[in-house]
């Protein structure tokens, strides 16, 4: 199954079990979603539940907040992370705060989902990542779907949950293939150990997990050590338990993220390691991030602005040398 099909299946099944689930966004209905995530759903559920909206993101989220107040379970799709900026007032001032400000009198069972990150030459206004800002907002749960299984289970969970959840996808993952495991118990708040290892813990999320996995054979070959790769999955709250046991085993931590380095999400993980895990560390923590520039259009420059399997390998090997790993 493809990642976008897994997302579609999650929405489809949630809509089938709960008639109050509605989907709203630009091109989500007749068009089937700009990444085909909502394809076919309008035929099954009608336009009352697959709501095509104008290109007005503030209202997509603002209306979803009101729908949740009024008794529905809205799933708002924003076409890309950069457009979500127009809805940040609604996400941060309304979606995240009504429950706390009203002392629990208002509950917002809603999801805002959008893809983010560098795709292929979409330039600076269609390529950014905002997990750092949204994970810093108390009152929001933030999931980041890095694989097909998580995409399905976590989105279905999010839609049927009573909390406001930001569900982040990646531009380049929609055609990723994978299996959905319907038998295993699933906890969307739990980090995923993608590969076990004993010498270096590499923490990542979204598409960078794939890039790390692509780099790992070469890293292991050059270092003669084994890497443990963790996909964080839930960016807020963070599954520190899984991180802690990995870090205690390996004594080291590397965070790989696509976002700009300044004020990045990964800095939070490094900060946790320095504050809470200092005496378990045998090496200085390493953060591999994107460049602090608006994402350029030119392919060569674009690739130079984010971590790639080659640059990840190079930086980890060099760091290992400096830290005696």
């Amino acid at each position: 199954m493809l990642y976008r099909e897994a997302l579609n299946k999650a929405i489809d099944e949630a809509m089938a079990v709960d008639e109050t689930v509605v989907v709203l966004g630009e091109d989500v209905g007749l068009y089937g979603g700009s990444y085909r995530v909502t394809e076919g759903l309008i035929a099954r559920y009608g336009e009352k539940r697959l709501i095509d909206t104008p290109i007005a993101e503030l209202s997509i989220v603002g209306n979803a907040v009101g729908m949740a107040m009024g008794g529905l379970r809205p799933v708002a799709e924003i076409m890309t992370a950069n457009f979500a900026l127009l809805a940040f007032d609604q996400i941060i001032n309304h979606m995240a705060k009504y429950r706390y400000m009203s002392a629990g009198k208002i509950t917002l069972p809603m999801v805002v989902r959008f893809p983010q990150g560098v795709s292929r030459q979409l330039a600076a206004q269609h390529s950014e990542s905002y997990e750092q800002m949204l994970s810093a907002v108390p009152g929001l749960i933030v999931f980041a779907a890095g694989d097909v299984n998580y995409a399905y289970h976590a989105l279905k969970y999010a839609i049927l949950s009573d909390d406001p959840i930001v569900f982040i996808e990646h531009e380049l993952l929609y055609n990723k293939k994978g299996e959905v495991d319907l038998n295993a118990e699933f906890d969307p708040f739990k980090a995923r150990i993608v590969k076990e290892g004993k010498d270096v813990t590499i923490v990542s999320y979204l598409k960078m997990v794939d890039d790390v996995m692509a780099a790992v054979p070469e890293i292991e070959k050059q270092l003669g050590k084994s890497c443990e790769v963790i996909d964080l999955c839930s960016l807020n709250p963070i599954d520190f338990k899984t991180l802690e046991s990995s870090l205690k085993k390996t004594g080291s931590i590397v965070v790989v993220e696509e976002d700009h380095k300044m004020g990045s999400y990964g800095a939070q993980i490094i900060s946790w390691a320095a504050e809470e895990m200092f005496y378990s560390l045998d090496a200085a923590p390493l953060r591999i991030s994107g460049a602090d520039v608006p994402i350029p259009y030119n392919r060569r420059l674009e690739l130079a602005s984010i971590p790639t399997p080659d640059s990840i390998t190079e930086q980890i090997v060099s760091w290992a040398g400096n830290n005696g790993i």
Partner: protein, 323 residues
């Protein structure tokens, strides 16, 4: 309007005025902090709108104490909220600007100018979807009608023919700036005209506001789609307690106060419903007692426990935080 309702509206207006005066006094005394936006001068508008839109959901702004009380929320719980106490309607979390009570179909209490309008649009969609026909009313000021959230909402509500009443309280000032300095016209209904039926009412006349809101609610319930109703009002105080309101001349304020909605309603009670001065005095005394009790209750109410800090960030059992 029958006599009982007229009395009720008058009583709520007086209650609102006295409540606001008490809030002002206790703000000055330091019992109430933060931003406090008083509704003095606009009680007729606030009360009549709530009474007329009896059933249905209400979304409003940070100038909402009088509306909340008139909606049926206990004045003691409102005053305690202003005092930031645990017995407040939002248990001291929200303060003056964030009063919520879904059991009275009252959805705040939003302090982002215009931010509640798209929420009301969504709620109207939900109510229509669920087959509930009372409709939704969203109250906002003239200042909000220049923002994007307002225009997006006009577009969406009219496209979907939602049962939504846009109720604009036009007091002529966007915070401290005269509306005509930042908008091309004095009456903001013009902005809504291409999208929906617009109506205007004298917001200082409670009876007229009541009738207009009733009429508008019937229209939105009849599948007419959204309606925009603009009420021209005056607020006597500054935008909030931190605004001395120096941008208005004494003369302008005097003209304002000559239209006092409470005095007008009192006249209606006398002339149309033949209430005696004694009967009116009794209503006033009853309201004063309620306000005094509310202040007493708020003063004595306990501070929130420190454990409250982390409660209700998420639903119980939802944010299954990994430990």
């Amino acid at each position: 309007m029958n006599k009982l309702l007229a009395e009720e509206i008058y009583y709520d207006m007086v209650l609102g005025r006295l409540f606001e005066l008490a809030a002002k006094e206790h703000y000055m005394a330091g019992d109430i902090a933060g931003f406090l936006h008083l509704d003095i001068g606009q009680e007729g508008f606030s009360v009549a709108a709530m009474k007329a839109f009896e059933k249905g959901d209400v979304f409003t702004t940070y100038r909402e104490h009088v509306m909340a009380i008139s909606r049926g929320i206990d004045p003691q719980a409102v005053m305690a909220e202003l005092f930031g106490k645990a017995s407040g309607i939002s248990r001291g979390r929200g303060g003056s600007m964030h009063l919520f009570d879904p059991s009275h179909f009252f959805y705040g209490g939003d302090a982002i100018v215009g931010g509640q309008i798209p929420n009301a649009v969504g709620c109207a969609y939900a109510r229509k979807f669920l087959g509930q026909e009372d409709g939704v009313m969203v109250v906002f000021g003239d200042g909000a009608t220049s923002g994007g959230a307002f225009f997006e909402s006009l577009n969406n509500a009219s496209t979907k023919k939602l049962p939504l009443l846009f109720l604009c309280e036009n007091n002529g000032y966007a915070i401290g700036t005269k509306i005509t300095r930042v908008a091309p016209f004095e009456k903001q209904a013009k902005k809504a005209e291409p999208y929906m039926l617009t109506m205007e009412v004298d917001g200082m006349d409670a009876v007229a506001v009541y009738k207009a809101v009733k009429e508008a609610q019937h229209l939105i319930q009849d599948g007419h789609g959204p309606v925009f109703l603009e009420a021209m009002t005056c607020r006597y105080e500054g935008h909030s307690m931190s605004d001395p309101g120096n941008y208005r001349s004494k003369e302008e304020l005097e003209i304002c106060k000559a239209k006092d909605p409470i005095e007008r309603m009192e006249k209606v009670l006398h002339e149309t419903y033949l209430l005696s001065s004694e009967q009116i005095d009794t209503l006033r005394q009853r309201a004063q007692k309620v306000v005094d009790d509310a202040v007493e209750f708020a003063t004595a109410a306990p501070e929130p426990e420190l454990e409250e800090l982390y409660t209700e960030v998420f639903c119980k059992g939802c944010a299954n935080v990994v430990s």
